[in-house]
Every structure is written in C-alpha cells, then in structure tokens.
C-alpha cells in the first residue's frame, strides 16, 4: 500500500529536479558568457523607458480590502454546495428546501452589505 501511493510521485520528483537543474544551469551558463558592467541606470525598474515615479510598494485602496473580505466569505460558502449537489439525487425535496434556506441566509448577508454601502465604489 505504501509503495502504491508513493510511486507516481517519483516521476514528479524527477521532473522537479530536472526543471530546477535546467534553469540553474542556463543561469550559470549566461553568467559565464555575459560581460559585467554594472551602472545605476540598470537597477531602476523598467517602465517603458520612463523614469519610475514613487515606490513600487504602493498601498492599495482599502476598498479593495473590503471587497476581498466579502469575496472570501461568499467564496468559501460554496464549499457546502458541492457535497449537496453530489448527494442531491438521493436527498430530494428536503435538501432543496434546506439549501434554499442556506442561500437565503447568505443573500441576507449580501443585502446587509449592500445596505451598509460597502458595495458602492465611492
């Protein structure tokens, strides 16, 4: 049983090793061949030949944050839909009603967020 589960991963392991090795090898090769002339302009971020303005670490608008939070919670609730869908054939009407109640409660959450004005992009 042990070998059965581990064996398929051996090929993956070989692939990973070869993949990493290939990349490292080409980098090493390039390092051998290329000339080395560092000067300051080379270290600047490339922005279509314009000089970059400000830091590349910018703060995102906090509104994104709230959208992300709402998304996460509704996204993960979908986890309950999958087993329900699989077992729906055996469960019948009762499960349908239950799921409708569940979705309604989720919708209430959406309604609440809407009323709070969270969904508006001001």
């Amino acid at each position: 049983m042990k070998g059965f589960y581990v064996a398929p991963y051996l090929s993956i392991l070989i692939f990973i090793v070869i993949g990493i090795g290939l990349v490292l090898f080409t980098f090493f090769l390039a390092r051998l061949i290329r000339p080395s002339h560092p000067y300051p302009a080379k270290t600047i971020n490339y922005e279509c030949a314009e000089l970059p303005i400000g830091d590349s670490w910018i703060q995102f608008n906090p509104r994104f944050y709230i959208f992300a939070l709402i998304f996460v919670i509704f996204d993960v609730e979908a986890v309950f839909l999958f087993p329900w869908a699989v077992a729906f054939g055996q469960l019948g009407l009762y499960a349908l009603i239950e799921m409708v109640i569940f979705i309604l409660i989720l919708f209430y959450g959406l309604y609440y967020a809407w009323k709070q004005g969270v969904l508006k992009w001001v």
Partner: protein, 99 residues
C-alpha cells in the same frame, strides 16, 4: 497513512512555530491557517484509511474550511482596525496593556 499523518504533524508544527514567533499579524494569520489545514488532513486521512464507512471525516473537513474562512475574515478585519490605529501591523505595537 503514516506519510499523511506526518505531513499533518509537520504542518501543525510549522503553524505552531509561526504563531509563537511571528512579529507580523498577517504572518500569524497564515500560520493559523496552516494549523487548521493540518487538522483537515488528519480528518481526511483517518476517513480514508481507518474509518472507511461513512463520510464524517470529510464533512468535518468541509466545515473546518468554512469556519477557518469565517475566522480569517474577522481576523483580517481586525488587522485593518489595527492598521488604522497604529499605521502598521507589527505585534510589537500592541502593548498598551500590561499586567
């Protein structure tokens, strides 16, 4: 089965270590998620190898996922509050109260 349990134990230990040593609140949150997922792996593993009749372990894992998501959302909202009050999210700031 041993491998799965070992993986779970490893994840749990990494998470535990992260929670106890991280100085960044987001880092702590990520470590917490690791711990929850370690428990999930345990549940699914036990369901597959030990208790083969029934789906309780898998259902349990689903519920844990949902709970962890709810917890993460509340945690991130609190992180936002911390950021507003201290302009940063290091745990070092949060030491107003001491015994």
């Amino acid at each position: 089965m041993f491998y799965y349990l070992a993986l779970a134990a490893l994840l749990f230990s990494i998470g535990l270590y992260g929670v106890l040593t991280r100085r960044n609140i987001i880092g702590i949150l990520m470590s917490l998620e690791l711990m929850f997922n370690a428990a999930n792996i345990n549940f699914v593993t036990f369901n597959k190898f030990v208790i083969t009749d029934g789906m309780t372990g898998q259902v349990f894992a689903l519920f844990v996922i949902a709970v962890a998501a709810a917890e993460a959302v509340v945690g991130l909202a609190i992180v936002l509050l911390v950021y507003r009050n201290w302009q940063g999210i290091k745990t070092d700031y949060i030491n107003v109260m001491k015994w």
